[in-house]
């Protein structure tokens, strides 16, 4: 299989790179770029919402820390290409049965060896219902998941996972899925030492991992204040730290963090606050960055609403989509910090195409929009007194401005009643969405967990999927996704995914708006700052000046 071959080559390349940098010695100059490798980099962070256990972290605050203190089987480089970490090789003949071999003599920072059991036990723990792990659903492709994850289930092992020897284990999936190896860099798949499973609560406060960094002693996590990480000297992988440590300083809001950045009290800020978008390039000059990443913004319109189902509903969805001037909104409101969407995934991904048939439905064309709306009127008249609302949460994320802009676009071009519908909190809007009680459209964004087209399609648009807010049900689409997943290689898989997208572009269960671009900056004290495929800075590569 193609994947396993590349991953072996990557393993060798990484080893060579490592020995090269080792020749350079631990002096002041890193192998590339130069800079002070002893500086502790202070970066902005958010208080982790859960104990720091890989299978129980589902948000970015905790995720950023986990990604530094753990090394999975693979990791992703700046472009989202997989590179081997703990894995020596990941082999399969049929995309359903995988044999995973680990590198020998790898250690957790408490001295325990990283073995096949470290992975298998951690995954079993994550999947079992009785442990109620928030990221448990990541194991759903593995055989035995349904039994272990059922409500009230006492099963605590996945039948698809088998330890062969200390450095080998096998994975059997429910059906062939060629992008399974690609997922293995996501935090839910990290290994855990024995002590974690014995006392997860205690472990979650002071996690022990096997990644490029480790906690700076017990209590390095000062709640709501900072998390201090220092390099793990034993780590020998592609993300070898080029600095003296990373400290996540926890901020209550971005505006405050920005003040710290421009006064050089903070080294790296990964999200420029909305209020400073207009001037951050002036303030920071060549210390600012705009870097596209794997995330997008859409408006989902549920099919359980009147007027939005059937043939007329489809025409109306297309009309709405064409009534939105994406170019103008991304320019004026985000100052170029977003790019207009051409399909349902994101441009940084392998296999992305901006010319999938049907993508013209996402281009601004008010005349055509009016035409389509009129056509829908003939099939089934729309009650003009009815108001189309776009629900969003007002507590975080600054959605109000762009929702109002979209509302005005639709109102002016289609002459119908439209309004934004702010919910006071995120949990309220999610509660209505999950209970299928929305009274209108809902804004929804997606951030990739792992760099794959499938990650933007399967969990959102397949029948009964966890994040299918639109309640889209299309058997043909489901089949196309299954076919894409079981393709022999990632290229064929991507092709099938984009064919499936043609259906989405025609039906528009959600209306894609734009792709995310990370807008960040750094202080005068650091250099070699680069952002990755997921909008997170490559912390390990940052050096002092």
């Amino acid at each position: 299989m193609r994947y396993s071959r590349t991953s072996k080559i990557l393993g060798v390349a990484a080893a060579v790179a490592l020995s090269l940098s080792a020749c350079g010695g631990g002096g002041d100059n890193a192998a590339d770029g130069g800079g002070d490798t002893s500086r502790v980099i202070v970066v902005d962070g958010a208080e982790p919402q859960n104990p720091l256990i890989p299978t129980n972290t589902n948000e970015v605050g905790g995720g950023a820390v986990l990604d530094l203190i753990f090394a999975g089987l693979i990791s992703y480089d700046a472009d989202g290409k997989p590179q081997n970490e703990m894995a020596e090789s990941i082999d399969t003949d049929d995309s359903q049965n995988y044999t995973i071999k680990l590198k020998a003599d790898q250690k957790f920072t408490n001295g325990d060896p990283v073995t096949a059991a470290s992975f298998v036990d951690a995954w079993n723990y994550g999947a079992a219902a009785k442990n109620a792990q928030l990221s448990g659903y990541f194991f759903e492709s593995i055989e035995g998941y349904d039994e272990a994850s059922a409500e009230g289930s006492k099963v605590d092992e996945l039948s698809g996972l088998k330890v062969v020897d200390d450095t080998t284990f096998t994975v059997k999936l429910k059906q062939p899925e060629s992008d399974f190896p690609l997922r293995l860099g996501y935090s839910a798949f990290y290994p855990m030492p024995e002590e974690a499973l014995k006392d997860p609560k205690k472990y979650g406060e002071n996690p022990v991992g096997n990644g490029p960094y480790k906690f700076d002693g017990d209590g390095a996590w000062e709640h709501e204040t900072q998390i201090k990480l220092v390099p793990n000297e034993d780590y020998e992988g592609p993300q070898k730290p080029k600095n003296g440590g990373v400290t996540f300083k926890i901020y209550q809001n971005d505006t405050t963090a920005y003040q710290d950045l421009i006064s050089d009290n903070l080294d790296v800020l990964k999200t420029i606050p909305t209020s400073d978008i207009k001037n951050f390039k002036n303030d920071l000059g060549d210390r600012s960055i705009e870097s596209p990443y794997a995330g997008n913004q859409t408006i989902a319109i549920p099919y359980y609403l009147d007027n939005w189902d059937g043939e007329a509903g489809k025409l109306r969805r297309q009309a709405i989509s064409m009534a939105i001037n994406r170019e103008e909104i991304t320019d004026v409101i985000f100052n170029g910090g977003r790019t207009p969407a051409k399909e349902f995934t994101a441009p940084v991904l392998d296999g992305y195409s901006d010319s999938i048939p049907g993508s013209e439905n996402l281009a601004y064309d008010p005349e055509k929009a009016k035409e389509l709306w009129a056509k829908a009127e003939k099939i089934e008249p729309y009650d003009k007194s009815e108001k189309l609302t776009i629900a969003y949460n007002a507590d975080k994320g600054d959605h109000k401005t762009w929702v109002e802009a979209v509302v005005n676009n639709i109102k002016n071009n289609l002459d119908i009643k439209v309004a934004g519908k702010p919910y006071a909190t995120f949990k309220e809007v999610r509660t209505d969405a999950t209970a299928q009680k929305l009274t209108g459209a809902i804004r929804s964004g997606w951030q990739a967990d792992y760099p794959s087209l499938a990650n933007f399609l399967g969990p959102i648009y397949t029948t009964g999927a966890g994040s299918n807010d639109a309640v889209y049900e299309n058997k043909k689409f489901d089949d196309a996704i299954t076919k894409g997943l079981s393709a022999d290689n990632v290229e064929d898989g991507s092709k099938a995914m984009n064919e499936a997208q043609e259906m989405l572009l025609d039906d528009l269960p959600a209306i894609p708006l734009w792709y995310q671009v990370a807008q960040g900056g750094w202080s005068d004290n650091v250099e070699n700052v680069e952002f990755g495929w997921n909008g997170v800075p490559l912390y390990y590569a940052i050096t002092g000046k």
């Binding site: 659903y137 994850s149 409500e151 926890i250 209550q252 809001n253 421009i262 006064s263 995120f426």
Partner: protein, 308 residues
Amino acid sequence: MGRFLLRRLLQLIPVFLGATLLIYFLVFSLPGDATAAICGEKGCTPAVEASLREQYNLDQPFWIQYLLYLKGIFTFDLGTNFAGQPITDILARVFPTTARLALMALAFEAVFGIAIGLFAGLKKGKFFDSTVLVFSLLVIAVPIFVLGFLMQFVVGVKLEWANPTVSGDASFTELILPALVLGLVSFAYVLRLTRTAVIENASADYVRTATAKGLSRRRVVTVHVLRNSMIPVVTFLGADLGALMGGAIVTEGIFNVNGVGNTLYRAVLNGEAPVVVSIVTVLIVVFVLANLLVDLLYAWLDPRIRYA
């Protein structure tokens, strides 16, 4: 005096029960499912949701949840927040910081408010008095977050006299700037209250008598004018301590102070009733005790007031 104290302390019990019940009910009635906050943007499986509900007693009716919480208080186990941290740890972390900030703000507004107010009151209608009046009006009129961001930008970013944000230690020197911002509006009120009271008392009979007796100006002003002018000011300061502690949320946000405000705000958004109730209960106790202290101060300031 002892009986007065005891009675006031016993009054704390119904206040405590009523307040916790009311606040617990309010948080309980907030729309939205608390598990939705835990599960985040991508949701979790129904099995995980069910076990989260069970873990945090969210599957129980209101009364059971409330009684379980009360039981927790009496066994000194308040439970944990959704992130698994013991609520007692959270209280121990946020209250010292906020208390320090609030007391510093209180000291600032008391010392400078009373001093400048006294001076302005004695020089009624003069240039200093008018300037101070206009300035205090300005401070009251401008929203606190504008003042906060302005001070942060000027002092922290442009002049670099202080860091724009406060570190985890929240040391005395770091808190000076936030405390100034926090106490600024109350400072203006204290100043105006003092000034008015001083003007009123300066023309009172006993002040004229004291002056006629030949007492020094200094003694007349400090003992007879100022002390008698303090009753409304002390009442205000007592009520203000509670307001400063609970209301520091804007200031704490601007200067990134790890205190009560932000923790309370997040707990309300997430629907973490036990956290909200615990924090607010402590705030209520502080408020009640501060006012008790004010009542005791009355007797000291004005010997005509007696408690029994």
